[in-house]
Symmetry: C2
Subunit: 125 residues, 2 copies
DNA sequence: TTAACATATGTTCATCTGTTCATATGTATA
DNA sequence: TATACATATGAACAGATGAACATATGTTAA
């Protein structure tokens, strides 16, 4: 779906650069994914960039939970949890199933665990 | 450095939960890293959560570049690039070396590439 | 159908964030 | 040392964001 632009690389005159040689300029420009993709990527990380959402994702690391229990476990308001779950849902980071009055959320994707784990490694130094 | 809290898990009465069984509650609480770690983790992802910074990081994926050339390549102002590089520097995502009047930035860490690549996989579906 | 419960949504508000513009700092060269 | 150049920093402002509160929606059971 996402395609890097491999064909039409804008030809900036090399002389305008300070140090970068022509091959480097070309490489960077051709490797750079489309702006739209980069925007989406930033949007994705933005979702991970809130400690409430991180806590929610972590609580779902190895089990599904309903909204009420997430709120209870993490000492958050129901409203706040629900709002954040909506964002996580929109980003396809969590999925859900209904069971009676409750709705159980779980991680949608193995990527979620991988991304968080990778971040953890960096944070833990 | 970062340690999960394995010892003192607050004992919430199970009856207050809706659906989660006691073992699940205990597991979640014992797995959840310290708040401080989770906060740092969110802070890290927040840094990735801006398309300007993502673009800058991508431009440094396979080569070092000086500030002026980054700005030129990405069509950004020098000031903006410099401000963002400072944030990336603070988060230990980029390192730099001086060469005459120019300062060359590069990715600090293999984690950076891995985190971005992982995010890309999710975005690309 | 009504009441109670679980979750979702809309709105408001204080706070945070990124950009721009102006200026400062640091470096090399004439 | 004076000047130009490369980068960094400070201040101000507009736009984004998360929390809280009130309320709506959807589900079950009486």
């Amino acid at each position: 779906m996402a395609t890097n632009k491999e064909v039409e690389v804008p030809e900036l005159p090399e002389t305008e650069f300070l140090a970068a040689r022509e091959d480097v300029v070309k490489r960077v420009l051709s490797q750079q994914p489309d702006d739209e993709i980069l925007y989406d990527l930033a949007e994705l990380f933005k979702v991970f960039g809130d400690s409430t959402r991180i806590k929610i994702l972590y609580s779902l690391f190895e089990n599904e939970l309903c909204v009420y229990d997430i709120a209870r476990l993490l000492n958050l308001s129901q409203s706040s949890v629900s709002h954040q779950l909506r964002i996580l849902k929109t980003s396809k980071l969590v999925k859900f199933r209904r069971e009676g009055k409750s709705i159980f959320y779980s991680l949608d994707d193995e990527h979620v665990r991988e991304i968080i784990s990778m971040g953890m490694e960096h944070v833990e130094e």
